[in-house]
Symmetry: C2
Subunit: 256 residues, 2 copies
């Protein structure tokens, strides 16, 4: 059975202006890969309701799971929850369980639960809350869409809460070989190995280190036996081309 | 006149598996913002021809400029050039000027211009080459699509070559104020300032530092006079709420 699929939607003007470097997509990608869920696509859009709604509807129709980051805080530019409600065609209002969570956190005079903070308790009808162990204000899940915070520490904590609720598949394993041969030298025999083993995805990532050209050759598959067999073919190919100091990273230590 | 718009397409299995952390999108975002070109959307897709072609056609129809990174090397998983030709419905073959560039670079026995490396001279019909001062193998531009390498040093060098060929607009300037007040405390008055100044985009980015909550309030606009006026309003608002050590970063020093 093929693995479940996923897409990520990163929301925020600050990402597209370059002010903020997104780190949530990479974090989610790693965790999903380990869980056997194939992240197929990521999109980044600005704080623009039309763009957010259109992207949500395109992605949720197409993939098993969708994950969003950003735009669920208390300020005027936090419009993600409203956009999700609009995309699903449901209402949105302050919900008592979300309000109760915020009330336990915002109870000092300088951080009272004012109208702005109460915006963070506005949850689309029919959604389930996602726990926020870092700063309390919850995310939520509706249908196959998981709405999470943009602040990395909060996003990452929410991902850990969400993962056990997802149906995973067979984790994609990888076996990588760092070879000090120019990529163009290994390209032809590597392509032959790839063509002969269509069940194993093979990637090549060139680098230059201390004046030497090399490439990291990565085989990816769910089946570790097949992975080992193809890695052995790649190693034999590189050795036949004269590579000596091959650094091999088998599945348990590698990330796909 | 509104600024030209742009989208970026990041191509590569290794991005979506989490193995590689993309840095090209952030770099491009910063350079386009400085040039007055509005990056409106970014997408990341795998080394899958159908996905790449569909994304290319969606983005090139919608934005002034499209920029891609990844998939133009010599190995079997480098399929971007073919996908671009397919998206534009044009032929693709080894082109003499591109072959000549590669021939000057690959002339030692251990790095001869073999068939795999020659793949990097396959250029869609009607495209212009983009110079690669780092490792020679060129990128190319066809229509409004700029096809560049995934290796960051090469991507960044290609961007510098491409920028002077683009029609820029009025750079988006920003004025930021770091305020040690919780975001939920400034949210309501900040929203009023945003509503009263629709020509200036205002964002709020919360942080926690040494146990204190704060937020960076960022005003963005092309007009520096308007920017200064709104920044002064934000500062007065924060001071009225008791903020003392406001760190203000005016347009010349800030990135939007």
């Amino acid at each position: 059975m093929p693995n479940p699929t996923a897409a990520m939607l990163v929301i925020g003007d600050e990402i597209l202006s370059g002010r903020t470097r997104d780190s949530n997509m990479n974090h989610l990608a790693r965790r999903l890969t380990e869980a056997g869920i194939d992240l197929r696509e990521a999109r980044m859009v600005a704080d623009d309701a039309g763009e957010i709604v259109a992207a949500l509807n395109a992605l949720r129709a197409r993939y098993t799971y969708v994950f969003t980051s950003g735009g669920i805080g208390p300020t005027h530019d936090d419009i993600t929850a409203d956009c999700v409600a609009q995309a699903f065609g449901v209402g949105i209002d302050v919900r008592e369980d979300a309000r109760a969570i915020l009330a336990t956190n915002y109870r000092n005079p300088e951080t009272e639960l004012n109208a702005a903070r109460l915006r963070m308790a506005r949850i689309p009808d029919g959604a389930d809350l996602i726990d926020n162990p870092v700063s309390k204000a919850p995310g939520f899940r509706i249908g196959n869409v998981h709405v999470m915070a943009g602040v990395p520490a909060v996003f990452e904590a929410m991902v850990e809460g969400v993962l056990p609720t997802l149906t995973g598949g067979a984790p994609l394993r990888s076996h990588s070989l760092r070879v000090f041969l120019p990529e163009g030298t290994v390209a032809a025999p590597l392509g032959e190995i790839a063509a002969a083993n269509p069940d194993v995805a093979i990637g090549s990532y060139p680098f230059q280190r201390e004046g030497r050209f090399g490439c990291t050759l990565v085989a990816r598959a769910q089946d570790t036996d097949r992975l080992g067999a193809v890695a052995a073919e790649i190693r034999a190919m590189a050795e036949a081309l004269g590579a000596t100091d091959i650094l091999e990273t088998p599945p348990d230590a590698a990330l796909a």
